[in-house]
Structures are given as structure tokens and as C-alpha cells.
């Protein structure tokens, strides 16, 4: 592991001569981080950014949950409450979930996994991080200048009439959109053009397939929502009212254009999570993923069909009944590729060599929560039941199961899996498993009651519910669960940070995993590989033998049992 290929920058900063050179210790100045073109450093910058915004979004969520413990509210004014749930939605969707996996794990791993030195456009990548931070700063400014109470969906005409900082927030979201467009563009070009010699499309890890599908959605969907939100800005700032009913415009057109992006955006959030889980399941089971082609194609199928189902958000919004029938039918069809993935993961574990470590426990938790999240989508894609359930807490519970139970669980699992690769150090595995179990049960405790209260008719975005005080026990249960969930999230933040400085050092392949990223040192050098890989094996090539020497050293040899 003595890397000497990349010359250290002797003039700038200090580096520990005992430690092999890597992307972290190659330069130490703040400038070298803020002006870096290295995809791994940008991934770390993103990681810091999204953790910060996740923390802010969680505070807003905590206020909302605390407020809802009583039918009459506890401490907030109506407007303050509305600003809180808007802040929670806007921050979590635009500043956390959408960039979460692609911009951190994806940024870090896409070039390494396909055997490239960097993404195709490193400076564009850095620019995308700056745009993300500018977007975040603008959205935060809007909150400090009085807040936004229009909700993250910004439905017109409410958003064009609201007297709060909607304009600034929308401009922030617009800029954030370009940040994700640039990330997606970088991934598409990199995956098309930068694969190592011998890395065919069907040798790529499923993580890459998922990111490819995600990037396609980002490129096709984001510009539509960007221009839609810009039109609301134009209406507010320049009186150019395209959605305004006073001008003969149609406010429902906004909803169509908004959901044309924002439904596929659900797949922007969850597809990378599925990619992560495919890696975790295959590597955690020490076995090639079952039905590789089907899992790969199902990502593309989800991306394609996902663009044709947006109308299921508007079954009761004045669109024609026949339109609704088509959207409903397609929504049932889009469930099939997701089901295929779940069945294939299950079949992968069958007859595997399962290592029940933190990443695998997170992956199993993902499967449980995602199955519930996906199946509860059936209630909402079927029009007869959606008429009752739409815009209630049932919907809130459903998308939290997919977004938090799916994406966030996968993100945490992936973070634990590649953490030793990113920082060259291992965290305490037992604490990791505890946190994974806390997240699983805390999550169910928080969001399962919301299914029931939604089914009973509790509308979303409600501050008070004294019209129906029988909802209270469910809200109480949900708020209590949220505190467990919060501990589950806080725990990894602590021990992962600790492990960067004090964790046990690891070599290139602590999990006995397959994939190009495990053939290079941990953490990798700036150009990822000392010699660029050329002879690429099949993906998840466990049949050729597993090298578990390092794994045994860290976690001990398995006890022989019957």
C-alpha cells in the first residue's frame, strides 16, 4: 500500500509521511478542498452539506411532531407551524433527498466503480456543489427573512398570492435544480464514455445502472420543474401570470407541470437507494445478484414508466375521468419493476454466505420498509381508494416509508458500507447494528400510526385537529416514535465522526467484497488507481472465490456451527 505515484504537494500543507498518500492527505489547505476537482473530495463536501441540511430539516420535523401531540397545538402560531412544515419539506426534498445518494456516494463511487480517474467534467462537478450551497444559502435566507408557508409543492394560485419569501425560495430551488442537472450530466457522460477498457455495459455494478437511470430522469425532468417554478417567480415579481385564473390561465396546469418532474423525482430519490441495496445485498451475501439483467433493466423501466404516471397526484383535481384511468393503470404497471427488484434481492440471499454486519442489517431494514412503502402505493394509485386517501396522513406515511424507509435507510447502509473506503477506518460494528435496528423500529413506530390516522381522514398539513380529537393517540404515538428515530439517526453521526479519527485502520477490502472500488487502497489516491484496471471480471464475480482474509481479521472467523 505504499503509494508513490502521485507526487505529494510538498509546498502546501503537511502530510503524515508514515501514512500512504491518499486523496485526503495529499493536500491540507482549506483552499485545496474548496477548489478541488477531485470527485472524492467533492463527495465529502456534499456529505457535509447534506448532513447539515438534514439536521435543519429534522429540527423542523421535530417542531411539527411536537405541535401535533395536541389537537389544539402546543406552542406555535398557525403561520409558524405552516412555515415549519414547509421548511421541513423544502429542505428535506430539495437539499437532502435529491442530492443525498447521487451527490455523495454516487460522486465518490461512480468513477471508481467503472475504472475511471475522475468524472468527465471535474470543474462542472465542483460548480454543481457551489450551486447547491448557493441554493441552500438562499433557502436559508428566505427562512430567516420571514419564512415560507407555501409548502414544498408551491401550488398556484396560493404560492403566487402568499405574502412570504416564496420568490427567494423558488429562485433557490431553481438554482439547486441546476446543481442536480450538472451532476446528472456528469454521470451520463462518465458512464457512457469513461468506462475502463473491458468494462462492458453488463459488467457494470447495479449501482451504476441505478445512477444512470437516475441521471436520465434528472436530465429530462428537472428543467421542466425549473421553468415551472420560474414562471411562478415571474408571476410574483413581474405580473406575468400564466397560471393565474384572473388571466384565463389554469392553476391545474401548474400541477401537471410540477408533477411531471416531481413524480419522477421520487425515483430520483429511490433509484440510487435501490442501487446501493443491490450492492449491499450481493456483497453481504457473498453471491452474484440474482437476475442481474432484470434488476438492471428494471431501473430503466422505472425511469421510463415513471414519467407517465404524474397524473395520479391529481385524481381529484379536476382532470378528466378518462385521463385518470390511464394514469392509474400506468401506476399499477410501474409497481412491477420494483417488485422484480425485491424478489431478486430475496433470491440473492438464498444460499448465500450472509455477513450480518451493519450495512447488511440496513439493507434488510430497507427491504422491509420499502415493501410496505411500495405496497401502500397501491391504495393511492387505485382511484376508488385514492379519492378518500389523497392528501391525508396516509399519503404522508406512504411517501415517508419510501423516502425515509427507502432512501435514507439505503443511504445510511451505503454510507456504512463504503465508509472504510472513504476514510480508511472502520466504525464499531455493534453500534452500527444497534443504530440500524433503532432506525427500523423507530421509523415504524413513527410512521405506521400515520397510516391509520390518515385512513381515518386526518388531512396533511393540518395544524389543529380539534374537529376530530380521536386522532390524538395516533399523533402521540407518532411523535414518541420520532424521538426513537432521532436517536437512531444521531448515533451514526457520533460514532462515524469518532471513527474518522480513532477508528481501526483497514486495508483495501475489509468486507471481502467484489467491485473495482475494493481493488484500490482505502482511502484511494487522487487518481483512484495506481495502474488503471483493464481486465474487468463480471460484476459480483463471487464464484471465482472470495478473499475474506481482511474481513476475518476485523470481525473474526465464523464459528463453525451446524
Amino acid at each position: 500500500m505504499s503509494a508513490t505515484v502521485a507526487k505529494p504537494d510538498q509546498t502546501e500543507g503537511l502530510y503524515d509521511p508514515k501514512e500512504p498518500l491518499n486523496y485526503i492527505n495529499v493536500q491540507h489547505t482549506l483552499k485545496s478542498w474548496l477548489l478541488t476537482g477531485d470527485h472524492k473530495r467533492i463527495a465529502i463536501l456534499y456529505l457535509i452539506g447534506i448532513t447539515f441540511f438534514f439536521f435543519l430539516g429534522s429540527i423542523a420535523a421535530a417542531m411539527v411532531r411536537l405541535e401535533l401531540t395536541s389537537p389544539h397545538g402546543v406552542m406555535l402560531e398557525n403561520d409558524t407551524y405552516n412555515k415549519m412544515f414547509s421548511a421541513h419539506g423544502i429542505i428535506m426534498i430539495f437539499l437532502f433527498l435529491i442530492p443525498s445518494i447521487p451527490a455523495t456516494l454516487g460522486n465518490f463511487l461512480v468513477p471508481i466503480m467503472i475504472g475511471a480517474r475522475d468524472l468527465a467534467f471535474p470543474r462542472l462537478n465542483l460548480m454543481s456543489w457551489y450551486l447547491y450551497m448557493i441554493a441552500g444559502a438562499m433557502i436559508l435566507c428566505a427562512f430567516f427573512m420571514g419564512g415560507v408557508e407555501a409548502g414544498w409543492t408551491f401550488y398556484t394560485p396560493y404560492s403566487s398570492l402568499a405574502k412570504s419569501q416564496v420568490t427567494l425560495t423558488l429562485v433557490g430551488v431553481f438554482i439547486g435544480g441546476f446543481s442536480s442537472i450538472f451532476t446528472g450530466l456528469n454521470f451520463i457522460v462518465t458512464i457512457h464514455k469513461m468506462r475502463a477498457p473491458g468494462m462492458g455495459w453488463f459488467k457494470m455494478p447495479l449501482f451504476i445502472w441505478a445512477h444512470y437511470a437516475t441521471s436520465v430522469i434528472i436530465m429530462l425532468g428537472t428543467p421542466v420543474v425549473a421553468i415551472t417554478l420560474l414562471l411562478v417567480v415571474l408571476e410574483r415579481a413581474f405580473n406575468i401570470g400564466i397560471f393565474s385564473p384572473d388571466n384565463g390561465g389554469d392553476p391545474v396546469l401548474f400541477q401537471h407541470m410540477f408533477w411531471f418532474y416531481s413524480h419522477p423525482a421520487v425515483y430520483i430519490m429511490v433509484l440510487p437507494g435501490m442501487g446501493v441495496v443491490s450492492e449491499l445485498i450481493a456483497n453481504g451475501s457473498g453471491k452474484k445478484i440474482f437476475g442481474y439483467d432484470f434488476v438492471a433493466y428494471s431501473s430503466l423501466a422505472i425511469a421510463a414508466i415513471g414519467f407517465l404516471v404524474w397524473g395520479h397526484h391529481m385524481f381529484v383535481a379536476g382532470q378528466s375521468m378518462y385521463q385518470g384511468v390511464i394514469f392509474s393503470l400506468l401506476s399499477f404497471v410501474v409497481a412491477v419493476p420494483s417488485a422484480i427488484k425485491v424478489f431478486n434481492w430475496t433470491a440473492t440471499i438464498y444460499k448465500g454466505q450472509v455477513k450480518l454486519n451493519t450495512p447488511m442489517v440496513y439493507a434488510l431494514g430497507f427491504m422491509g420498509l420499502f415493501v410496505i412503502g411500495g405496497l401502500t402505493g397501491l391504495y393511492l394509485s387505485s382511484m376508488g381508494t385514492d379519492v378518500h386517501l389523497t392528501a391525508t396522513y396516509f399519503v404522508v406515511a406512504h411517501f415517508h416509508y419510501v423516502m425515509v424507509g427507502g432512501t435514507v435507510t439505503a443511504f445510511l447502509g451505503g454510507l456504512h458500507f463504503w465508509w472504510p473506503k472513504m476514510f480508511g477506518r472502520m466504525y464499531p460494528d455493534t453500534l452500527g447494528i444497534v443504530s440500524a435496528i433503532m432506525v427500523f423500529f423507530g421509523f415504524n413506530f413513527t410512521f405506521f400510526p400515520q397510516f391509520i390516522v390518515g385512513w381515518m381522514g386526518m388531512p396533511r398539513r393540518y395544524h389543529y385537529y380539534y374537529f376530530a380529537p380521536e386522532f390524538q393517540p395516533y399523533h402521540l404515538a407518532s411523535s414518541m416514535g420520532a424521538s426513537f428515530l432521532a436517536i437512531g439517526f444521531a448515533l451514526p453521526a457520533c460514532y462515524l465522526t469518532w471513527s474518522i479519527f480513532k477508528g481501526r485502520k483497514v486495508g483495501p477490502n475489509p468486507w471481502g467484497a467484489k467491485g473495482l472500488e475494493w481493488t484500490t487502497q482505502s482511502p484511494p489516491i487522487t487518481t483512484n488507481f495506481e495502474t488503471m484496471p483493464t481486465d474487468i471480471p463480471e460484476a459480483y464475480d463471487f464464484d471465482s472465490g472470495i478473499d475474506d482474509s481482511e474481513y476475518d481479521e476485523i470481525f473474526g472467523k465464523p464459528k463453525e456451527s451446524k
Partner: protein, 223 residues
């Protein structure tokens, strides 16, 4: 393969690429992907236009007479010529004659400036005087034809949103072309290869094509 190639015999190749061919292809694929996002962005506006025009076709026909097809036509000619000049610039970059590239790009810049002068001077500013700008002064409709003022306002909202976004793209194009010219002038290593000019060219042709759609939709409406 790697170790030698990584030293990059060719100084034009960035460290992340294996060779110039890969770099060129990556830039072109990247530019086309970016243009796809641009198409989706304008596409959303064209969709909104289409829906409202289907709804209010007869009023839109009356309102569109307030736009002068001759001025729009002049702008179409100007932009078409600028695209030709841009194609010539790309050609001369491929055959490595930077002086001619620079000169053709000046022509593109002049056309772009002319487009904006015509657009703003002959169309947008007079519209403000006729109270047809939703964002400046009061919006009024004095041209009869049984057109409700709010439909006229909707029409001009769409008109200014779409031509405004297009105009913004023209301005961005001028800045990018200016930067390209500056780099050619300074003999910057980045522009030794023709790919940057080709990319700017693709962008400029896209801006042109958007106008080719805007012109008939707004100026040449059938009854």
C-alpha cells in the same frame, strides 16, 4: 495502456481522460445532453402555449396581429445568418485557421447584437408604450376584436416569458462566444482543439432553432 498514457503525451488532454478522442467524445456527449435539458425547459413553455392556444385560438389570432411579422422575419434572417457564420467558424477551427475563426465569431456577435436591438428596440419597448406589457405600467387592450383584456394579458405573458427566456439565451450565447474569442485571441491551450468552438456552435444553433419555432407560433398564426 494506462501508465504511459496517463503521462499524457498530448498536453491538450485532461488528466481524467485516456486520450484526445475520449475527451472530444465526452465533451460532445455532454453538450448534447445539456441541449436535451434545454429542450425540456423550452418544451414546458411550448406545452403551456399549446394548451392556451387550443383554448383561445380565435382571440390569440386577433391578438397576434399586434406583433409585426416583418420585424420577426428580419430577426429570423439575422439569426439564420448568424448560424451560418457560426458554422463557418467551426469549420475554420477544424482546419486550424484561428484568425478566420475569430473574424467569423465577430460576425456572429454582430448578428446577436442586431437581433437584440431589433427585439428590444422595435418590439418590446413599443409594446410598453401600447400598454401591452404585463410587467410595466398598466396592461390595457385597445384593439377591439372582442378580445377580453385578460386573454390578451395571458397571450403577452406567454410571449414575454418565451421570447424573454430566448433573449436570455442569446445574451448568454454572446457572453460565451466573447469568452471563446478572448481565449482564441490569447492563444489559450484550451482552444487549440476545435471542440470548444464546436460546443459553442451547437449551443448557438439550438438558440437559433428555438427562434425558428417561436417565429411561426407567434407571428404567422393561421386564422
Amino acid at each position: 495502456m494506462s501508465a504511459e498514457a496517463h503521462g499524457h503525451a498530448n498536453h491538450l488532454v485532461y488528466h481524467q481522460y485516456e486520450d484526445l478522442e475520449q475527451q472530444r467524445e465526452s465533451y460532445i456527449v455532454g453538450m448534447w445532453s445539456f441541449l436535451v435539458t434545454e429542450i425540456m425547459m423550452f418544451g414546458a413553455l411550448f406545452l403551456a402555449y399549446m394548451i392556451y392556444r387550443m383554448q383561445y385560438q380565435d382571440h390569440f389570432y386577433v391578438i397576434h396581429k399586434q406583433l409585426d411579422w416583418r420585424v420577426g422575419g428580419l430577426n429570423t434572417v439575422v439569426l439564420l445568418f448568424s448560424s451560418f457564420a457560426m458554422a463557418m467558424a467551426v469549420y475554420y477551427h477544424q482546419v486550424k485557421q484561428p484568425k478566420k475563426v475569430f473574424n467569423w465569431l465577430i460576425l456572429v456577435q454582430l448578428c446577436a447584437a442586431a437581433f437584440l436591438v431589433i427585439k428590444i428596440g422595435l418590439e418590446w419597448i413599443p409594446k410598453a408604450g401600447h400598454h401591452l406589457t404585463p410587467f410595466y405600467g398598466t396592461f390595457e387592450w385597445h384593439y377591439g376584436g372582442g378580445v377580453p383584456p385578460e386573454i390578451a394579458k395571458l397571450f403577452f405573458s406567454l410571449y414575454f416569458a418565451m421570447t424573454g427566456l430566448h433573449g436570455l439565451h442569446v445574451v448568454i450565447g454572446m457572453i460565451v462566444i466573447g469568452a471563446l474569442q478572448w481565449m482564441i485571441h490569447k492563444k489559450h491551450p484550451l482552444v487549440e482543439d476545435y471542440i470548444p468552438t464546436e460546443m459553442v456552435g451547437l449551443y448557438w444553433h439550438f438558440v437559433d432553432i428555438v427562434w425558428i419555432f417561436l417565429y411561426p407560433l407567434y407571428y404567422l398564426m393561421p386564422q
